[in-house]
Symmetry: C2
């Protein structure tokens, strides 16, 4: 399981390829429909690259499809690397999407948010694995172990659920950060002043059950403060709506 | 400015008193309407305590009212420590609430989330100060400096805005964590598996402008995944509503 072809050159593909390369795997080839993206990543992991599907190397031990969840079906439809060990890295796509093109398939889902330009210690990434049989699962387990990652055996249904939960803690949380950024920026107040609070919020929620450390006006049923806050957002109905809904949810739990 | 009386024995009062005590301030007395709370905190900072308003020591240099925002007016109404240097610690209450009881007043607002039982490095807490004159502002600045805190001069209007932004990044974010916790717990999946993602989300949002690192199905306009996610929450209309609203907000920005 030494020679690997990576399909994709986006955020996940980039971080995963680099981590594999550093762990002494041989990245044989990078495929991306964008030649420049393939080339950039290939350079980082000392591999070949192509933007032509027919040119994908057929001698690898493992093919990792690391593209957007919504693009996996497309890749599978035109897969030229049939009957190889093939895995995808998507949270919301069942493992069985690969069963038509190989007898050996699985999922290697890194439960993390990746940006090409943001450095990341890959050993801190939890890997959720699934495979069509025990042998293949063991292979994936070994790879995750060689990357020093925490590994979890997670089936497709569970993985979909994790992906949903991840949307709440990552995508939606970041949206709330954006709202706060804009509320401050509007009056030239630096977002930096909230950094310590953001860090402590995370610290508390990961060292406790989040519901146990909930605070704030809505949690206290402090209608007076809530109304003052709503009034301050009269110039932004979107922020007002979000504030109102989340406060109501918190108050329902009182 | 060495002798301090603390009004309150809750989360903020506790962390602030302990920090002041460690920085060699003399905590003269703790007041709380709950005798046990006053006693517990007093023990930690080697001070007297009382639950009787009339017994509040009138020889202190500084009186810090560290109670819930909604209780400050009440305290002011019956204040026996008139014409002393008096500050409050509330985000949403203007400094002028204190002008009827003293000529020397201000605000010492620690922009952080406090729980009595959660240890905290107080030097990481940003302090927002405001005072009725430059002398008093300098006094507060010195105290914050002695606690090794970052200090910001923030007027009452700005502080209200910071408090509003803090609700988004702390209270509402923690609510999203609670939703994620429940989504996983419902199927016996450990919340711990999301910890790395939560930490990286914070890391990215504090090292960048949050909007620049936004990802996820809604950001990509991936309606297919969004609909699948909504379906998975058919048994919880609250979570579904929150998901729908936040996804819509993110898609409006596309």
């Amino acid at each position: 399981m030494k020679n690997i072809v990576i399909i994709g050159a986006g955020n996940v593909a980039t971080h995963l390829s680099v981590a594999l390369y550093k762990a002494n795997y041989n990245i044989l080839q990078i495929y991306s429909r964008t030649q420049q993206a393939a080339k950039t990543l290939a350079k980082q992991v000392n591999s070949n690259f192509t933007n032509c599907f027919e040119e994908i190397d057929n001698s690898a031990d493992l093919y990792i499809i690391a593209v957007l969840d919504s693009c996996i079906k497309q890749i599978v439809a035109k897969a030229v690397f049939r009957n190889k060990f093939i895995v995808h890295t998507a949270g919301s796509v069942p493992v069985t999407v690969l069963e038509t093109i190989s007898k050996n398939y699985g999922v290697f889902y890194p439960l993390q948010t990746f940006s090409k330009d943001v450095a990341l210690d890959f050993s801190q990434v939890p890997i959720c694995i699934e495979a069509n049989n025990t042998n293949n699962e063991t292979e994936l387990y070994t790879i995750a172990n060689n990357l020093n990652c925490k590994v979890y055996s997670i089936n497709s249904k569970e993985r979909k659920r994790l992906h949903l939960a991840a949307v709440f803690v990552n995508n939606f949380t970041n949206y709330l950060f954006t709202v706060a950024y804009n509320i401050l920026d509007d009056k030239n107040l630096p977002f930096e002043i909230l950094h310590a609070l953001i860090k402590q919020t995370t610290e508390k929620a990961t060292n406790n059950i989040p519901a146990d450390v909930q605070t704030g006006p809505a949690k206290r049923g402090d209608i007076d403060t809530i109304n003052k806050h709503l009034q301050m957002m009269n110039n932004n109905k979107d922020f007002q709506e979000v504030y109102k809904m989340l406060s109501n949810k918190l108050m329902e739990d009182l």
